[in-house]
Symmetry: C2
Subunit: 223 residues, 2 copies
């Protein structure tokens, strides 16, 4: 392996290990030594890549933000079924949370009182929800009496709730839980024309998304 | 002041200070010294009341659980409007979160990776929601096609979401945010007979609840 490849892999392994250590003990309680041990990397090698624990936290957050972007995709201004896309993406996001310590760590940092970086991932999710619902409104997929802000807030909050509850009890990451929310809200949210065909449990397009490989630069698959 | 009164007040002040220190920096990053300084209490006095930081965490959680019980009340098997009670109580809980560092710290510990006590408050809230919705079903206030678990999960998750998002941005604690969720779900949740009279923004009974004093043993008012 070329030296540069090895450096890239070491960096990725350090980010992955930091995410796991932060996720188990919180940012404040995690030490650079624990992260080195978990990654099988010397202190010297760690400091070659990261100045300190804060820099590792920033790298975890940035990698998690890329994963989130990978899960959501960019907001498609001409998507034919923006409401179904929102439902499918909420399922894909919660499913990804259940199996991806890096993504969990990214959301976790945002609500960790010891982390000074702010809630980057929650805001990125909220922005995506708002833009997608704006597309839905423009295309007539939202019921006329739905206030856009209501829908944005409810969808953002419920996914944040699944994330935080799932930390203590993984059943909150089950597809059933996300489906519950949509069964309750879709009849109100969806315009008459799309109500019958919008599937609370996720459309068939969701199955293929679940199988997508992880983002390469955030989560190396060939290990 | 009698010596016993003073001991009770010192204990309460230590719990209050611990909640504030945990809330600002997380459990792991909080030191017993910080808590002593904030409470204006010597190390000796702290150790008279609490063996260590873990014991302080348990006391914070127990006091927050009492506050939560104070906010929800016991589930009233014969309540005339259980669905409105659920709406009002969710508003009261989020409002209380916005102004009560002790209650926030109790929920916060449940999702703090460094805390080993489990998510006591989230489960207490979920149990209350489940029992209240069970009463609603029995009395015919829930629409017939609503699956009880769907409603329990959605209501539990969205309030957990407001709690975790509000840590970074207090606008999530605004009544408007909670109302958003109910506007989207009540039309689906409520039986025809109660739909029109169930108020998403909270009933007039809510106003009097907001003004209730805090629970004395958790949060001394005469300071």
């Amino acid at each position: 392996m070329a030296q540069q490849d090895r450096a890239v892999r070491t960096r990725q392994e350090l980010i992955r290990s930091a995410a796991e250590v932060f996720g188990r003990g919180g940012f404040a309680d995690s030490s650079v030594s624990q992260i080195c041990t978990r990654a099988g990397v010397s202190h010297g090698a760690l400091h070659f890549h990261f100045r300190n624990k804060q820099a590792l936290g920033e790298a975890v957050e940035a990698a998690a933000a890329r994963t989130l972007l990978h899960v959501t995709g960019h907001v498609p201004p001409g998507h034919p079924e923006p409401l179904q896309l929102l439902v499918d993406t909420s399922h894909a996001l919660v499913a990804r949370l259940s199996r991806d310590p890096l993504l969990r760590a990214g959301f976790g940092l945002g609500s960790d009182a010891a982390w000074r970086g702010g809630a980057l991932l929650a805001r990125q999710w909220q922005d995506w929800v708002r833009l997608t619902l704006t597309v839905a409104r423009r295309q007539g997929s939202l019921a006329a009496d739905v206030v856009l802000d209501d829908a944005v807030q409810a969808v953002t909050a419920v996914v944040a709730g699944f994330e935080v509850l799932g930390r203590d009890d993984a059943r909150w990451y089950a597809r059933r839980a996300v489906t519950s929310f949509w069964r309750l809200t879709l009849p109100q949210l969806a315009a008459e024309a799309v109500r019958a065909r919008t599937v609370a449990a996720g459309s068939s397009a969701l199955a293929s998304r679940d199988a997508e490989p992880a983002l390469d630069d955030a989560w190396p698959t060939a290990r």
